[in-house]
């Protein structure tokens, strides 16, 4: 059986004395009956698909509803005109998050990570970081195993769908996965990776899933940005030795608890929150077929 807790995963690392990514990969390969080589080949395919999805962003694309599209290009071009307040690197992260989430809304091919609605978070952190630090693909794959391992435990102990746990379960989980992965890339140890994951998820607890007209567009596209930027600040804290007072496993359990206490109107039904705002309702009337 795959890991039931972050603590169990870290214990396995200590006992086996192997890198964390390898422990995650081998545990999953055993569970699903594939070889390590097959697992790596699949991960490599996913990474290729993620990079391709990033390359294939089109500035002119708009979603069927017309609500989203073009902001990723605006951000990318805007940060060349003036220095972004957050600095160039974060500017690129924001642009990538917007682009990937817009590609998803506009029916382009993406990699769900962990969901389609949150597909921009992980690539927004990993792609700019790779190009800034010239990291070989081999090591990027290792970081993806760490991200997936974290996501797997969140899915086991809590959930990763907005309908079950609200946006905290989608963008929150993606953010925790990205935080853990980027700490690994930056040379942090596994404990720091998990501290970063815990902090990232903690900071998005309570985020509701309130898509306008029920579409994966507003506010989903921009929430991918906060997921990515939040992952980076959590990673920086963890790399400086800051710890999450509440252990990661307990944060995950709290996320599940918060999700179950959310009213159904705030869990992907497109009724409450921003979806229920006057403008949200007006948009819904405009874009949905009248029956």
């Amino acid at each position: 059986m795959s890991f039931q807790s972050i603590q169990e995963m870290l214990n396995a690392e200590k006992q086996q004395g192997l890198p964390l990514w390898q422990i995650i990969m081998e545990e999953d390969a055993r569970e699903t009956g594939i070889s390590a080589e097959e697992s790596k080949a699949r991960m490599s395919q996913l990474w290729g698909a993620m990079r391709a999805a990033s390359r294939e962003y089109e500035d002119s694309l708009r979603s069927t509803s017309g609500l989203v599209g073009g902001d990723g290009a605006r951000m990318r071009d805007g940060i060349k005109q003036h220095e972004p307040i957050c600095g160039e690197f974060i500017g690129l992260v924001i642009a990538q998050a917007l682009q990937m989430a817009e590609s998803n809304a506009c029916m382009k091919r993406i990699v769900a990570a962990p969901t389609a609605g949150s597909c921009g978070v992980l690539p927004a952190v990993l792609l700019p970081y790779q190009s800034k630090h010239n990291i070989p693909d081999e090591r990027m794959l290792e970081s993806l195993y760490i991200a997936a391992g974290v996501g797997q435990i969140i899915a086991t102990r809590a959930c990763i769908s907005g309908a079950e746990g609200g946006c905290q379960a989608e963008i929150g989980s993606a953010s925790a996965m990205a935080a853990a992965a980027v700490v690994y890339l930056a040379g942090g140890d596994s404990d720091q990776s998990m501290q970063a994951g815990a902090i990232a998820l903690k900071n998005l607890l309570g985020l509701v899933c309130d898509p306008v007209a029920g579409l994966v567009e507003v506010p989903c596209v921009k929430r991918n940005v906060i997921g990515a930027v939040n992952a980076l600040s959590a990673a920086d804290m963890a790399l400086c030795g800051i710890q999450s007072v509440i252990p990661f496993d307990e944060v995950i359990d709290a996320m599940r608890e918060v999700g179950s206490q959310m009213s159904p109107g705030l869990r992907e039904t497109g009724e409450g929150g921003l979806a229920g705002s006057p403008t949200g309702i007006k948009i819904k009337k405009r874009v949905l077929p009248q029956r």
Partner: protein, 217 residues
């Protein structure tokens, strides 16, 4: 969930339930029909009916009927592709009872005249379940090789089918039996661990009392 349920699938957006799952429904329906559907009447239920257009559910279903998988970049153009291949299709809405909010009913006519009516739900993460086939309740996902046998409700037919499978060394993973009424029409839905070869499927069709055999690999 395994690691590749967390990272992945690679899919055309925007929604794993409303887009990727809808492609799967169309794909499984096409496989079950066994030939190119020249006519498709599609009825959408629940959230598929209300937010389907914005999620490309309609285009996704047609893509599946054309034989595409959820990562096919031609999904947004599926209407044009279907028309070019001579497929006639229409969409409507329906209110079904006691079903998942993401459900579609498809009435298909194949190029050689085969007909099929199926109702299927998209359960999330791109996974689906066929809940009705030709008016008879069912429950299968299409993830394993699946044999669907329509037969007259008579003694011995289940034994004939399972012994034919046994002769081919095919192990049954799950098996479900349904009928519309005593002595009426029955359906066996058999999920297997191994693939069933074409010849064996044809052999099923020759058994007296078996009306229709559909195989999904």
């Amino acid at each position: 969930m395994n690691l590749f349920d967390i990272l992945g699938p690679v899919m055309v957006g925007p929604s794993s339930s409303h887009t990727a799952g809808a492609v799967r429904i169309g794909y499984v329906a096409r496989k079950l029909l066994g030939e190119f559907p020249k006519k498709a009447e599609i009825l959408l239920h629940g959230s598929f009916a209300t937010t389907g257009t914005g999620h490309g559910t309609d285009k996704a279903l047609i893509s599946g009927l054309l034989g595409m998988q959820p990562d096919d970049i031609r999904i947004p153009q599926s209407f044009e592709l279907a028309r070019a291949q001579g497929m006639e299709f229409s969409f409507g809405t329906v209110a079904l009872r006691d079903v998942h909010p993401n459900t579609a009913l498809l009435r298909l006519t194949g190029e050689n005249g085969k007909q099929l009516e199926i109702t299927a739900s998209s359960l999330g993460g791109g996974r689906i379940k066929v809940i009705e086939i030709d008016g008879i309740r069912s429950s299968f996902t299409g993830e394993a090789p699946t044999l669907i046998v329509h037969n007259l409700d008579r003694p011995g037919l289940v034994a004939e089918v399972t012994s034919l499978l046994y002769n081919q060394s095919i192990n049954i993973a799950t098996m479900q039996l349904y009928r519309n009424r005593r002595g009426g029409t029955a359906v066996m839905i058999i999920e297997t661990d191994q693939l069933i070869n074409r010849k064996a499927v044809e052999a099923f069709e020759k058994i007296k009392g078996i009306v229709k055999v559909t195989y999904l690999d």
